[in-house]
Symmetry: D2
Subunit: 384 residues, 4 copies
């Protein structure tokens, strides 16, 4: 597929995700980590305008100079911006304004892609832009779930939403891995983020890792055993988190008259017992593993064994902190702000989730979040 | 005009205020004191549904039982509700949903008003409902100004907005008032709120009060004289407020390249020097008066002299705290939560503003806000 | 008594209050409104050094120029100062250092008072200084109670502490007061604060006022009737306060195994049922009155009737906000910061308390605090 | 040296550290991470009472049952406790009370150690207690520095304090380390904490590491080059930290009339240019390294090379997060709360500092703090 086809395919997918929304759903920001959908569709457009069209498309006329202020996410290099907590306070630009902006940039991109020879540096930025937009597609899915799932009316996102089929594990046996040196990190031809690069050796002790993820039924046992009320299973910071937030269950679980329900894209439903547990913090993942007398794997153990178990429906919290690989170097300029500056205080998640765009996942992919965050489709794989 | 006509007149005016809005403008809550316009149009509807239709219209079917939770403002008597800071987090019900709700309630009210004999108690509640909706019309005007005026694009509300004409003062002389007993509070036939009732005597010392309000030009002198940097003019709490908020000018003023601008319903414009100063806190009103070597009047001084000066374009901060008049008693039930429970920590404002609906003002009207609030059309009248 | 005798009498009383303390008790600041005792004994000394010795005693050598920074309370005129919340973070100057400072200033004051003719302006400042120190004596009593009473060991302040005898009311009849004009405010020869000055007329409606204060036994009925759980009795701000602080009883009450205890200067004791209720917020006073179907008096009603009931053991919350009397004017310079700048957001308390120094009370005395504060000896007198 | 000698030696050293303090210095807690010295001397005593005397010394009478509540640090297993932020609010028990408690426990320990056969489990707990007390000796040094160094009078701790001599590096050459498998973690006979155990293999790439630490002079170049104002060198969280705290220099640095000073145990002095930079956060260490075009080492790189460079005067921030070693397991009961529950969100520091007790350091020692903390003697070693 050529670059223009790729471009329009990825852009179209963003719009398809938003298709079931009402105008009002595009606007709100019920918590700081959730951005209004209209911000996502503007920001992904701004990315192509800022990093491709303005520097590389001669004669390109910026759509609106104010939009840089509105749609810059965190790039200090590119200037001041609306503070993140204020995104949900902006009624303008309207959804229609942003759709016009999107169309304007798409038209320009079409001209640019069809009528210009594309050099390697631009190709690289384009592919980064596609992957960037795919990351925001996943955020759109999780942010929409948060916006609707925290509304007292529990509206349905789409009655026809179908969760992607889980890849069944070949076997139900725990995967046994021998002691030794393993190679970790991306290598090869295709795209990867800078944080996966520099394939390097790590030494691992013998370990075993579960072929499947923890289910809602299994997690319910932890709740029923008083797991949220026993400090022994929790980190000190996790125990503070439990008490401050009065946490009693995963996000989106509601105990109604003694019966557990969960909010899904179909609205409020009875808890799906056989589903993989979802929307838990790292603290909960750790506490569950501790209660089971096991542990979470490191990201290296995960990657080394990943071809031998099924994955893809949940982002799996690992025990690893998000740190640079040996030899990691930030790119110069704004693009260098993509990953490196977040490498403190976050945990690595491996795998992918039902909200991850198809073809966006890799065994070497390193996702990362603060340990308390739960609005992503996060789950638990045990190791020992 | 009969009750049904009154009802539809007041309801229509709410819709006219909202007519220039985009759907997105209905949704956001950029600060806790500002409610999303869609909340106002739902809440005023809920008021009639809750206090008229449900108790008095036999056979009335509630539109949606969830709406009580969504549109209750602060009536503890009527049950739990969305916490105030969360109003801007709700994308649903949509504007269209709420317009349907409004239509449904209006149709029921029409039936009710036309086909039922209306007793005195219901008539009283209806008139309260009209006045309640008028209060929300004023809030709609000020909240819309805040929503648009705090957007980095400074959108125009309506190019055809015309500020109501100020009633010119008969004279430019300060009004001199003699020492003695004056009667204060509402008496007579028409509507008043419970906080104005119980006309009673107060003893006032000799005083004089300005026939006009302080203008932007006059206030600018205070700014240029360093008023925001001289603690001597401020209350201790006001000085904290200045420093915490780095206050330098009234709300909506912007110094762009050395020139003062103000946001208006027409967008960003050069400061109107001859306008009455607006959008100031009580702290600023007090500091300005102190800098001039004068003071604000009490609400009693204001009311006693009100027939002798012009008023109506600005809510005028008074020196009075919002306290019950002698003999004040709360009504039983939810209606009793209307005023009394706010009688601590707030200052009285007298007069009316350009955003006040016509016919909603009275010389005895007692408005009240926390001393730091500025999003209302507040101004300064000096006394000595 | 001459000025020097007065000086040493008031200074000695401060030291007597502190005599039972351990060194450590002088240092801590368990909440922002409580100052460490060593700060009080330094600050009252600083007052005489700053306002008497430095301007009026030729050749006086300042004890330590750093002490201005350490012991200034809130006088912006006199320069920067340790922020109020940091007073409890300072281990130095030590108690001994401050006692040396106190001795140094007392010696200088003795020389100054004995060897200089004292002009009227200095005499006025001296008397202000005595009254200022008496106010801090009361604060010492309440701050010491807070420091010890919030310690998990509940230490005794002094086993020989005796509460001053309450002045018995002449009668148990409610005091009936007729409608009309009353004179309010200080007049005459002795000392008063600027906020009491300008005796002026107020018009009062007919009212009656209780001869006695509400007792612990009576207040317990309110608690047992669920008063802390019924929003109808509370201001909106009071109800927030109850819920935020999970308030269930007055400060210093402890329910131990179903039995109410109270912390006193003698340590933890069974609740004294016949004592006047104490250490309540304005919100609680208001809610109690509302539950009884009565109200608090205004400060004017209180003052007009004060010769006809007993008072003096509790600061009585009134319904009045702390506002300037007609004609109130701040003194120039630092002394002008004494009262006026606090005239917003506070309630007036009338009377005096068991912690008030003898001879420090007057019928016209206006005390004032934020409505949520409870560490003073506050109580309730009903009116109707 | 036998156990009793060890016990008294370590106990005496705590008292020597406190010898120069005034009583008031024992009481305050100017920031949450700093504990009042009297708390440290009580808590270390409580440790021996709780974990040795009460379970193992038959007939031992607890000194005061309330002290468990007062001196428990964070052991959930041992019951409720004074919340950490309240330690500085407690004037009682007094310093004298705590010294009596200390004497009482020391006497009991003497009896216990001399008259009882000591089993292996008790010996292990004793050695843990010695090391625990040594950790608190270091905290005493840093907390005392914070208490005095944040006092506006900048009092001297001790004019005779001498910084331990730095071990000079054998060479000024960077240490070059080859690629390969290294062994990491404690092994052997002596004492170590549980977080150092499980010696295991790690694979390291080729790297070089500086023989010396960054000096004040070198760090000053970073400041003068605008390092605190250039976002490119900082993590996103670090940049927030800089802006929130308006950080401009290491803790204890003061720019007085254009000249840099630093607070030391001798009081305020001119900046010692040749000293190792100290009292910096991880964010600053990272930013400095980034500005130099280098990086911090990992804890594994540090340990593998540690015999080849000098260390011991500064805790050196590493790039490593504080995570469990392979096979790490918490001990059962309260002792298991020692380390494991802190293994999230913190960075590892390696080495030791001038405040570390002699004989308390090891090449395998893993210290850990949140990345923003600066009150420890922290420094920077570069790697590449």
């Amino acid at each position: 597929m050529d670059l223009a086809d790729c471009y329009f395919k990825v852009r179209r997918r963003t719009e398809e995700i938003c298709a079931p929304l009402q105008t009002e759903d595009y606007v709100v920001q019920p918590t700081v980590d959730v951005s209004p959908p209209k911000w996502h569709i503007g920001h992904t457009t701004w990315f192509f305008e800022t990093f491709i069209l303005k520097p590389y498309f001669m004669g390109y006329q910026e759509f609106d100079p104010n939009y840089n202020y509105v749609f810059n996410s965190y790039y200090e290099t590119v200037g001041t911006r609306v503070i993140r907590t204020d995104r949900g306070n902006l009624s303008r630009p309207t959804v229609l304004d942003i759709q016009r902006y999107r169309k304007y940039v798409d038209d320009a991109m079409e001209n640019f892609l069809l009528c210009n020879p594309i050099g390697d540096d631009v190709r690289e930025l384009l592919v980064l832009g596609f992957n960037h937009e795919e990351q925001h597609q996943e955020l759109l899915m999780t942010d929409i779930k948060y916006i609707l799932g925290n509304n007292p009316l529990f509206p349905v996102y789409s009655p026809t939403y179908v969760k992607p089929k889980a890849i069944a594990s070949d076997s139900n046996e725990w995967v046994e891995m021998g002691e030794g040196v393993y190679e970790i990190g991306f290598t090869g031809e295709g795209f990867s983020f800078d944080n996966e690069l520099n394939r390097h050796k790590v030494y691992l002790n013998e370990y075993s890792i579960s072929p499947t993820l923890v289910t809602n039924a299994e997690y319910l046992e932890f709740i029923n055993a008083g797991g949220y009320h026993d400090f022994r299973h929790w980190h000190a910071a996790g125990w503070d988190w439990v008490n401050t937030n009065k946490a009693e269950a995963p996000m989106y679980w509601h105990n109604i008259d003694g019966q557990w329900h969960q909010y899904t894209y179909h609205g409020l439903e009875l808890l799906h017992l056989h589903d993989e547990v979802c929307h838990i913090s790292y603290y909960e993942a750790y506490a569950y593993a501790s209660w089971k007398g096991m542990r979470l794997s490191t990201e290296f153990e995960w990657e080394a064994a990943a071809t031998r178990f099924s994955w893809g429906n949940r982002w799996e919290w690992t025990e690893s902190a998000y740190l640079p690989y040996p030899g990691f170097a930030k790119a110069p300029g704004a693009i260098g702000e993509y990953n490196g500056k977040f490498m403190v205080g976050q945990k690595v998640l491996r795998g992918a989730s039902e909200a991850t765009p198809p073809d966006h996942s890799r065994i070497t992919y390193r996702n990362f979040f603060q340990p308390e965050l739960r609005w992503q489709f996060t789950g638990i794989r045990l190791a020992k």
